[in-house]
């Protein structure tokens, strides 16, 4: 079953490219540890999920690129085409000329309705190309204008139009010290809207991934493409095919459905996080040996102590819950977990709400949002919803 990806905004598009690249490279990796038959089955399964076959043999990613200004999408399309190994569909890109100005209201209330039809048409075309649709994977950031505002709008539309399909939103939590000044407002509005219309929210924090790059991968000057590659690596391990009950050559058919079935038992608790080990640069891989048991133990430790990396674990006891093992080609392991360790995220979110609240008390920046039809009540609604979610998690 196939997954259609929607990449929104600069962040979404940059990450999306890295994800497809990682998926492709992983499934076509020359050094195999398994038998040839297994390899082929794996490749076929992976390809069916994320790529569709085109005439000239170059697989085309099942993705839609959306951005309100052309620079990033042009870059992404040309990078993919240049690689020669895979590409984006010719007509899968939608862009406008003027961006959203980091304004959630502009993305949601202006760009959304204006371009609703074109974007939904594009998605429809991509869906029709699939034999069977597993669901949607939407990549966006929370701090900007297009990813956050337009992303929330598109997710809502998908909820209306494709109510039987699952939607997983991949959201990027901005740096604590700020990359966009109004990121608190944008994040709160996005989260509250997504909570109502999405099925699962997979969160990646820029700060955490940055630390992984710095400490584990030893990159000196970390660029956004380094961060995106780590992200893609983690996502890859989630989405690559996993064995089904029948045996070693049969892969589970429904990636999103399986994940959600196990991880989102109650619609109130939708936030997911990823822990992935091992994370290290290509160079050190040659010098390390792993055993499966060792990796699992490490992962369990990470879970219990709520840390995102192998190093610097701080010990606190909390009960872990479900796990889903995978057997991929490279010795990867990942764990997707939903439990009260999310308390960390919740605390982060709480802080966000608090600082956004402070700003709102003084009506700072509100005029920029009311210009595009957002009212103060909308802000209040968002705050309330998120406070409720925070409270539910705390109660667990």
């Amino acid at each position: 079953m196939s997954v259609v990806t929607v990449q929104l905004g600069q962040c979404g598009n940059q990450i999306g490219f890295e994800v497809f690249d990682a998926l492709y490279t992983d499934s076509h990796c020359p050094q195999g540890l398994c038998s040839k038959r297994e390899n082929e089955a794996y490749q076929a399964s992976c390809k069916e999920r994320f790529f569709s076959e085109e005439e000239n043999g170059v697989p085309s990613a099942r993705a839609i690129l959306v951005d309100m200004e052309p620079k990033v999408t042009n870059q992404t399309l040309s990078k993919a085409a240049q690689s020669g190994r895979w590409k984006y569909g010719q007509h899968s890109c939608f862009c406008q000329k003027q961006g959203s100005g980091n304004n959630w209201a502009y993305g949601y209330s202006v760009h959304g309705p204006r371009h609703e039809e074109s974007i939904m048409n594009l998605i429809q075309k991509e869906v029709e190309k699939c034999d069977s649709l597993s669901g949607f994977f939407i990549i966006m950031s929370m701090a900007g204008g297009t990813g956050s505002g337009l992303g929330a709008f598109v997710t809502q539309n998908l909820q209306d139009q494709y109510s039987n399909s699952l939607k997983m939103n991949h959201i990027i939590w901005p740096y604590e010290t700020g990359e966009v000044i109004v990121q608190n407002y944008n994040s709160i509005l996005t989260l509250s809207h997504l909570y109502r219309s999405s099925d699962a929210l997979l969160v990646h924090e820029n700060d955490a991934v940055h630390k992984i790059c710095a400490k584990l991968m030893n990159i000196k000057q970390i660029s956004f493409s380094d961060i995106n590659q780590v992200l893609a690596h983690q996502l890859g391990s989630v989405f690559q095919p996993t064995y089904s009950v029948e045996g070693s050559c049969h892969y589970r058919r429904n990636p999103l459905g399986d994940l959600m079935e196990n991880l989102v038992p109650h619609p109130e608790f939708k936030m997911l996080g990823i822990r992935n080990i091992p994370q290290m640069s290509e160079n050190s891989l040659a010098y390390s040996t792993f055993t499966w048991a060792g990796l699992l133990k490490h992962l369990r430790q990470m879970l219990i102590s709520n840390s995102k990396m192998e190093e610097g674990i701080d010990w606190q006891v909390r009960p872990p819950l479900s796990r889903l093992p995978t057997l991929g080609k490279a010795s990867l392991n990942r764990e997707l977990q939903f439990n009260t360790s999310i308390a960390n995220l919740v605390i982060l979110r709480g802080k966000d709400v608090h600082s956004a609240d402070l700003g709102k008390k003084l009506r700072a920046y509100i005029h920029q949002y009311t210009k595009f039809g957002l009212e103060e009540e909308d802000f209040l609604d968002s705050f309330t919803l998120l406070e409720q979610v925070v409270a539910s998690y705390c109660n667990l």
Binding site: S100, G101, N102, T177, E179, L358, G359, Q368
Partner: protein, 475 residues
């Protein structure tokens, strides 16, 4: 990709504008090796086939034929514009984009605003509409002028109201040169305060600049070049300060170096919108992030580095030095000390080979020494553009919405009051039709209101952070 139109008004505005266009051409020439008219170029230039008579000559893609600047040049005396038209940039400007008169405004805001405003209203509107029509998607008007004179200050601000009415969706960014203490125009306080009222009401964003700061920066650079410090060799004619290389024998005019700094400011401001990068920042994001309250839209700018060092391999320390410099009061383009005042918001626009980790490291490093307003403690907006400016490997433009502009305004008000109390020179203004004493009083109260808002924010500086109770919800 969006387009911007530059409107240069008055002697100061046109001279700065001229430097801007020269640098813009140079920058695009360095980046655009193939001579294809691309989207980055289209943000400031039109591609025109000059053999076609009339309006039909615009070409949207393909090789560059002739580049015409998206600019409107306005001056009420002919000297400056004529000089531009005889200089090396004469082909860049379309003759239909100029509006000139003969007599000038006599350093009188009222003449510029009321007399020439009404006289040329239709003509100016027509030219602006024309230039907007040539744009696919017009995003922003950049207005360059001075505050102390007559045309720039009077007619320049008259324009603002017109732009707001005619093009309400297009942003208005104003680069204003404020009169310094030893300004030679006696009526400059009157002109400035009358102009400030218009800026308060009709501009989206104002970048105030003063000549004294620019002059100090140039002197410092000269000092560094001539001091011959051991171990550092500095390229004497960096692009920041001169347009040398354009015409070899041209005698450098006194304001050229200073105007070049302002031109660089405008280029760096728009670089992330024109060129690619890993974290883009468009012009509408500047207003969105840096203007928390509509009235407080005055942004203090600082540009680093100001000279190029000859060694190519820049160690990390130098990069960090660039960030520290941006916050020192010697690098600000207006006399202000942001470190000791309250920050409402700050934007860092980096160009060149700088990555996000460098940015984050420096923000962490500098944050403790800067005071941010309590509700915006993480008030940083960042952008990374991969294309560096010509002649440098990286550069940084810092825009700060900071209460340190307050002293400048207060000083202006002081000078205004000194003249106004004695009613000195007032008759020149009052004899113009439409000017009354109430105009002066309104302008003064508008400025006082602005200063009061800054005062209120400053008052919160020493207060502890109020802990607002969180919303409590029933479970």
């Amino acid at each position: 990709m969006t387009q911007s139109v530059v409107v240069q008004v008055g002697q100061c505005g046109n001279q700065i504008g001229c430097c801007f266009w020269d640098l813009a051409l140079r920058e695009h020439a360095a980046v655009n090796q193939k001579g294809i008219y691309d989207e980055a170029l289209s943000s400031f230039f039109r591609n025109v086939d000059t053999r076609v008579v009339g309006d039909g000559g615009s070409i949207s893609k393909g090789k560059i034929c002739t580049l015409k600047a998206r600019a409107v040049l306005i001056d009420m005396e002919e000297g400056v514009v004529n000089e531009i038209l005889q200089g090396p940039l004469r082909d860049v400007f379309d003759s239909k984009q100029l509006i000139t008169d003969i007599s000038g405004s006599g350093n009188n805001w009222a003449v510029g605003h009321k007399v020439f405003g009404s006289l040329y209203q239709e003509k100016i509107l027509e030219k602006l509409r024309k230039s907007a029509e040539h744009c696919d998607c017009l995003q922003c008007f950049f207005i360059i002028h001075s505050m102390g004179g007559g045309t720039g200050s009077g007619l320049g601000t008259f324009l603002l109201k017109m732009l707001e009415d005619e093009f309400p969706e297009v942003y208005r960014f104003v680069t204003s040169v404020y009169p310094s203490g030893e300004d030679d125009v006696i009526t400059s306080p009157y002109n400035s305060i009358l102009a400030m009222k218009e800026l308060n009401e009709h501009a989206d964003c104002v970048l105030p600049i003063d000549n004294q700061s620019l002059f100090d920066i140039i002197s410092k650079i000269d000092l560094m070049v001539n001091s011959g410090k051991l171990g550092t060799t500095i390229k004497p004619k960096s692009l920041i300060t001169s347009s040398a290389g354009a015409v070899k024998k041209r005698h450098q005019k006194p304001f050229d170096a200073m105007n070049n700094i302002v031109a660089n400011l405008l280029l760096n401001l728009t670089s992330s919108a024109r060129f690619e990068g890993s974290l883009n920042m468009d012009l509408n994001e500047i207003s969105m992030n840096l203007v928390p309250f509509p009235q407080l839209h005055y942004l203090v700018s600082s540009l680093t580095p100001l000279y190029t060092l000859a060694d190519v391999n820049i160690p990390t320390r130098r990069l960090d030095q660039m960030f520290s410099d941006a916050f020192s009061k010697d690098h600000q383009l207006i006399r202000a000390d942001p470190k000791h005042s309250l920050y409402l918001a700050c934007a860092l626009m980096v160009r060149g080979n700088v990555q996000v980790s460098d940015l984050r490291r420096n923000i962490e490093r500098l944050k403790p020494s800067l005071q941010f307003v309590s509700w915006n403690q993480e008030g940083w907006k960042t952008s990374l553009c991969s294309v560096p400016p010509v002649g440098h490997s990286h550069s940084l433009l810092a825009l700060a919405n900071n209460t340190c502009v307050k002293p400048t305004f207060m000083e202006l008000r002081e000078r205004f009051m000194r003249l106004y109390k004695k009613k000195a020179h007032l008759h020149h203004y009052l004899q113009i039709e439409g000017m009354e004493e109430s105009c002066f009083m309104e302008a003064l109260s508008s400025l006082s209101g602005l200063i009061e808002e800054y005062n209120q924010l400053d008052a919160t500086k020493s207060m502890p952070v109020e802990d607002f109770p969180r919303l409590s919800v029933a479970m």
